[in-house]
Symmetry: C2
């Protein structure tokens, strides 16, 4: 609980719900007849609706990106370090929108929702949604909020993939794309890790083929395992080493299968905590969206060709110790954009935190983000004059 709301916080915020009754045709061919999206906004939309920034969340993210829901909250939103008055994404200047994606488990329609056609919980029958579907649903939310063109769309990891898709699919609807710790598609190794995570969940008997909510059950063992594994891949080898090294739980080895090293305890805790806040079907769905994303697939693997459609400015950011979405993957995007003659800035940030670095307020990273967005904001002001 914050004793007082920090001065650079967006303060106490409340989520909104937008209900959509026009069916959405998904990549899988299925129609989603109606759905809702939960979102938050920070800052004020200006009179010509030109100062909006959309935040796209990653695998386990949600709409609560900044501020507090109540004074009793122990922690602010997941990207509070970057969003707020005077922060990198400055809410004194920009109107920031953050939503929970379709298929999520934090209020938007997803596997934990009721399928109106069957009056049953969707569960694993919720259609698999893709990055393209998210972008489509985000565009409808923008329409609803009266935003034709975003000043910027910003996202890290899977969020960055949504930003990339926006630049291709709706080239005139954003002035700038900020793609952080992301990739033009998953590597084979990434797909492999996702498959192990999904199998961890599916093989838990409490998963009940995705119908666990109907069975008053939760596949905590499997979802916890998936999170433990994910957690290892979000951290760098060095970061884990400096945080835990070979620190032991007891003074001497116990020579049993209990916890010997602190890192084991930490991972188990992370896994267990995750199962209390996240839905297993949503986790599976999010990993599939990652697997499917491959915009260059449309242009025979030529990323530059598909990116030639883009009209916005780009900022790409990568982190030196990120091995899940290594700098080389961001550089593939940068190179393709350069080849396509686009305006692109790129910052490779020295950081020990691995993939997780995108959530940390690393000074050079925050400055880069802020300078870029300030420039975009100034350009928009100038164009409006």
């Amino acid at each position: 609980m914050p004793d007082a709301i920090p001065v650079d916080s967006v303060g106490i915020v409340a989520p909104h719900i937008a209900q959509f009754e026009t069916p959405l045709t998904l990549s899988c061919g299925q129609d989603l007849p109606a759905y809702q999206l939960v979102y938050e906004t920070y800052g004020t939309l200006n009179s010509n609706a030109s100062n909006a920034i959309l935040i796209c969340h990653a695998l386990s993210g949600d709409h609560h990106a900044a501020g507090y829901h109540a004074m009793s909250d122990k922690k602010p939103g997941w990207w509070d370090s970057a969003i707020g008055p005077g922060k990198a994404i400055d809410t004194e200047r920009f109107f920031v929108i953050s939503l929970n994606n379709l298929g999520g488990c934090s209020g938007s329609t997803g596997p934990t929702s009721i399928n109106p056609e069957t009056s049953d919980i969707w569960g694993e029958n919720f259609p698999i949604v893709t990055v393209q579907d998210w972008v489509e649903s985000q565009a409808r939310l923008a329409d609803r909020l009266g935003i034709q063109t975003f000043a910027a769309i910003v996202g890290g990891s899977l969020g960055g993939m949504q930003v990339l898709e926006w630049s291709i699919r709706f080239p005139t609807r954003l002035k700038a794309a900020v793609i952080i710790a992301s990739a033009p598609n998953l590597s084979t190794q990434n797909i492999a890790f996702n498959e192990v995570a999904r199998q961890s969940i599916r093989r838990d008997p409490e998963f009940h083929d995705g119908r666990y909510l109907n069975e008053q059950s939760v596949p905590t063992n499997g979802l916890g395992l998936a999170r433990m594994l994910g957690h290892i891949t979000y951290l760098s080898d060095d970061a884990m080493g400096s945080k835990f090294g070979r620190q032991m739980r007891h003074d001497n080895y116990q020579y049993n299968y209990g916890i010997e090293f602190e890192v084991e305890s930490y991972l188990r805790y992370q896994g267990e905590a995750f199962t209390k806040r996240f839905d297993a079907n949503t986790y599976m769905l999010m990993t599939k969206a990652l697997d499917y994303f491959d915009p260059a697939g449309e242009t025979d693997g030529d990323l530059s060709a598909v990116l030639s459609r883009a009209q916005c400015e780009f900022l790409l950011v990568s982190f030196t110790t990120d091995w899940r979405f290594a700098p080389e993957r961001s550089e593939e995007i940068v190179n393709a954009l350069v080849k396509a003659g686009k305006h692109v800035s790129y910052a490779k940030i020295e950081a020990a935190e691995g993939h997780d670095a995108f959530l940390f307020p690393i000074p050079r990273y925050m400055t880069t983000l802020n300078s870029f967005l300030t420039r975009i904001g100034n350009r928009i002001l100038k164009e409006a004059q």
Copy 2:
């Protein structure tokens, strides 16, 4: 099945069993009253027993390192590419011994054996054995075979840790130590991956707290998961990429939770195949032995200090794309040996295969191994004159 035994094969081989009745006091403090070790030998021991090479196996290895057990065998032993007449470890010159370590599941006493005190299957109650315990038991096997001093002891990965331990524990009993794709201890990340593997097994309800054999059951789901995860870490990102890329199973995405990418199918197959040949309790035990190994622990983290006891020559080999036991880890050993004034050669081999490279007959690797062992063989001959 080989149509005919290749000329550079050790041919048809049969395992031997050595029974030990003298209790072995283990690192955990427990006494193992009696035990057996299964082993194979290739080549001929010379009259002064100076040409013996001991092979130490890795996590999922066994005693069957070379040759065939029957003409109907589809594959030879696990390191047949390196062991045989005229091969890197030349059986025309050396007498090669390969054993299944204590706690294994291929014939040596381990969790699948009967505990004579209870007449019950040991299962998870089999004491955790360490690298030190293995080396002690290997020394007893050497005594039994009349070998006072090995020409060389050779091992990759966890096998390399045994070689390192030999050089410290029995400095006068080996002329040379060949430590391949190994490390002076596990990194935090390695321990973390092991913990996820163990939890995968333990959380499978078919594990029955390690008593699955009594329950006529096998934790195939959990052990399969552990192997899938292990497999990813044995391969390099690049190797997986070149082998599978984003190759799809079907012409189009199916948008369901079945197999979309070939790499998913491959991993599931690898996981399942492993559960047919390996015991879950042994897998857990082997991962614990990896976790515990840390010879510099005795000397306050000073690897050079503990290695000062060694008297043999060393060859260290690492592989460029190995991220589970990265070249830097081998170089820690090299540097510590140099600091301790030991005779050490080091080869960092260009290889795409990741950690698995140590099992491949990569020409520069095989030549390095052969040259080193030839020199050691010549030195021994000269000393005997």
